[in-house]
């Protein structure tokens, strides 16, 4: 997805996390991506912690339909209604917010509004948010999805944009180590996932 692209809109929100429904089925930013809801001056930033595609009607699960189809695309072509019956949703852990133009790397005083547009962030905005990594504990403690994978994926994305990825990885690794005292194997597991990016 392109940086700055509209992903979808907020359909469920609390101060620590929000759920966004994508405007287009399967068109979601990847795990660990930074997203923003709100405008530049007042915004809430979060990291994609879970991406899920499911039936819009919680009582009706999708059924297998591809018995005679040659490919998955063929199934969607033959059943265009599927795009309307299902949706792709993101669960986002809030890590920072901007208030009065100032970046703060902790929870915003109030959650985003329902139907706020959600955008994909990258480049300078990603580097600005990750300038210091004091929000890593909230990612590591996320009740959603697999926090270790989310943290590693987020750090991989930051490193890819960073002018000195080596240093970023080392500093982030040390920050993680400080928060994961007594959990050496968890730490090395995350580090290995960060390094493989």
């Amino acid at each position: 997805m392109a940086i700055g692209e509209r992903v979808g809109e907020v359909v469920e929100a609390s101060t620590s996390r929000f759920v966004a429904q994508c405007h287009e089925l399967y068109r979601a930013p990847p795990l660990g991506a930074l997203v923003r809801s709100g405008s530049d001056g007042e915004a809430v930033y979060g990291v994609v912690a879970e991406v899920a595609t499911r039936s819009l009607d919680p009582g009706r699960r999708a059924m297998a339909m591809g018995h005679s189809a040659e490919s998955v695309e063929a199934v969607y072509e033959r059943h265009p209604q599927l795009n309307r019956l299902m949706s792709t949703e993101l669960e986002v852990m809030v890590v920072a917010h901007r208030s009065g133009g100032r970046m703060e790397r902790f929870l915003a005083p109030s959650p985003p509004r329902i139907h706020d547009i959600v955008y994909v962030c990258g480049g300078a905005e990603l580097l600005e948010v990750s300038e210091t990594l004091e929000f890593l504990p909230s990612l590591l403690g996320s009740p959603v999805g697999s926090p270790d994978d989310v943290t590693a994926a987020f750090l991989r994305r930051v490193a890819a944009e960073h002018p000195d990825p080596e240093r970023l990885r080392l500093e982030a690794g040390r920050e993680l180590a400080a928060h994961l005292t007594g959990q050496l194997h968890r730490l090395t597991g995350i580090l290995r996932r960060v390094a493989s990016g």
């Binding site: 990885r169 040390r174 180590a177 007594g182 050496l184 730490l187």
Partner: protein, 547 residues
């Protein structure tokens, strides 16, 4: 913490204080970027507390981890990135630092008297860094002004100095097993005392190492004191031939008369001459019988078994003991420097010392004869000491008439200062009295455990090269505070050119790499001038005098 305040040059941050106590030392957690392998035990560090700056020494280096399971189930660190992050964070290096001194802060005594012993510890998170040259100078003083450059701290080229006036105030010891550089250290100390003019030296030079020239490792020749400080040093010799063979004409040839030997001297020779207690004590009876000053010559003149037994009857001593005593004392007759006449060797030595000259007494071939060494050193020292006592007492009114402070250097000191005899010998007396009569000792020994505990505890400054016997290490550290930590430092000294210095002449115990001695540069740094420089100096002097 105002970390900006201490931008001292060459200082590099190591980590921060995280725990500790004054008695056990503080724990410093190393920063992830500081390698545990780059910090050595004995290294100097500074700790910047909230209000005070401390100077400390690393007494232990350890590995810690934030995960108690690390040792049981170590992580896979085959990925260099993982290894780099984990080492220094989850698995880290730690130092135990003993805060020794406070070197700056709001204590007024710091301004008046310089560094003070640390009576507290730096607060949590105090920044810890390697000490800079300026810190070392602040603590140990800079060369000149009574401070003599003795060596450098490990891993630093800074000149570390001894406070010589403080040194000569008490008796001192140089220890170390053989081949660790005791002689080189002693030679340096003598040069330091000489340069500072704080005292005059009298050296009982057993191996002829100090006067004219000595030998380094591998037989290379090094200059003795006479070559370096020509006009300030007199070499006396007991063995003129040996001195001449070594290219030196001694300033005075020492001879000892039989009449100068006292029964006390025989006590000291008991072990060396393998005398029983009865035989050694018989010397007192003989002294009473024949009279002081005559007893030895007359006793040796008694011939035959019958003669001895007659004498035994007359003195009430066991005949066989007397026979054995005479048999052993006949060895003294073989010493070429002993004869029947009286001599004024003591007067000569004192004459030189009074002029501020330093006297080295070479033993020549007699250095290999321990009995000769003990006898002569004891005999001369006793008489010189007596003269010092007289003069000191008569000068009680007039300070300027006091004799010059004297430092007497003896080697194989345990032979003079064994627990059994230390209380009886003149050396024991001097060591215990400090400088009451302006005489102190510099004892050089490889077996300090053989020296009386009381004497060891009276030594002001101890300079110790490697010792590997537990008993010797114990003996050296007797009565020293923090001896447990010093013990680990002492046992890890390298066998060459390293020494632990502690006591009054240094503000804190310190491991040094001994100053180099033996190259032309080292001689020049001690003030020696080669022929050309001498000529230039002479011409300059003439020019200054006559225009």
């Amino acid at each position: 913490m105002a970390s900006g305040e201490w931008s001292a040059e060459n200082s590099s941050r190591l980590g921060m204080v995280v725990a500790g106590s004054l008695t056990e030392g503080v724990q410093v957690k190393l920063d992830p970027d500081s390698s545990v392998e780059s910090v050595k035990v004995g290294a100097f560090v500074t700790l910047q507390g909230e209000r005070m700056r401390f100077f400390g020494v690393v007494t232990d280096v350890s590995l810690g981890s934030t995960d108690p399971m690390l040792s049981a189930s170590p992580p896979d660190v085959s990925d260099p990135y993982v290894a780099k992050v984990v080492s220094g964070t989850a698995a880290y290096g730690a130092l135990t630092v003993e805060p020794m001194l406070t070197i700056s802060g709001d204590d007024p005594a710091l301004l008046l008297d310089g560094p003070q012993p640390a009576k507290t510890v730096p607060a949590h998170f105090a920044e810890t860094a390697t000490a800079t040259e300026r810190d070392i100078e602040l603590v140990f003083g800079s060369e000149g002004d009574g401070h003599f450059w003795i060596g450098s701290p490990l891993d630093m080229d800074t000149r570390l100095c001894l406070d010589v006036p403080e040194l000569v105030m008490r008796s001192n010891g140089v220890f170390g097993k053989s081949g660790t550089g005791k002689t080189f250290l002693t030679r340096l100390l003598l040069a330091g005392i000489l340069q500072s003019r704080a005292a005059v030296n009298l050296v009982f030079d057993m191996e002829n190492e100090y006067g004219w020239r000595g030998y380094g490792e591998g037989g290379s020749e090094v200059k003795g004191l006479k070559q370096l400080f020509h006009s300030q040093v007199a070499v006396f010799s007991l063995d003129e031939e040996s001195s001449k063979r070594r290219g030196l004409t001694p300033d005075y040839v020492v001879r000892i008369g039989y009449g100068e030997v006292q029964a006390d001297d025989i006590q000291l020779l008991r072990e060396t001459l393998d005398l029983s207690d009865v035989a050694a004590d018989a010397a007192y009876s003989l002294e009473r019988h024949f009279g002081e000053g005559k007893w030895l010559a007359e006793f040796l003149a008694v011939r035959g078994r019958e003669g001895i037994f007659e004498l035994a009857d007359a003195t009430g001593v066991n005949g066989n003991a007397l026979l054995r005593l005479q048999n052993r004392l006949r060895r003294l007759e073989r010493l070429g420097f002993m004869d029947d006449t009286g001599h004024d060797s003591v007067k000569q030595i004192l004459r030189y010392l009074d002029r501020g000259m330093h006297v080295v007494l070479e033993f020549g071939r007699y250095g290999r004869n321990l009995a000769a060494y003990i006898l002569v050193a004891n005999l001369l020292t006793r008489r010189i000491y007596d003269r010092y006592v007289e003069r000191k007492e008569s000068a009680s009114e007039d300070k300027s008439a006091e004799p010059r402070p004297l430092v007497i250097t003896i080697e194989e000191a345990h032979k003079f200062l064994t627990p059994g005899v230390a209380s009886q010998t003149i050396f024991g007396t001097i060591a215990r009295e400090m400088r009451k009569y302006n005489v102190t000792l510099l004892v050089v020994d490889q077996r300090p455990s053989g020296i009386d505990d009381e004497v060891m505890s009276q030594l002001g400054t101890k300079i110790t090269c490697l010792l590997d016997s537990e008993r010797d290490i114990d003996a050296v550290l007797t009565g020293t505070s923090g001896s447990r930590k010093l013990r680990s430092v002492l046992a890890r000294l390298e066998s060459k050119q390293q020494a632990l210095v502690f006591g009054h002449a240094v503000p804190m115990p310190v491991v040094i790499r001994t100053r180099e001695y033996g190259s032309p540069e080292s001689y020049q740094s001690l003030g020696w001038k080669d022929a050309e420089a001498m000529r230039a100096q002479l011409e300059q002097d003439v020019e200054d005098l006559f225009g």
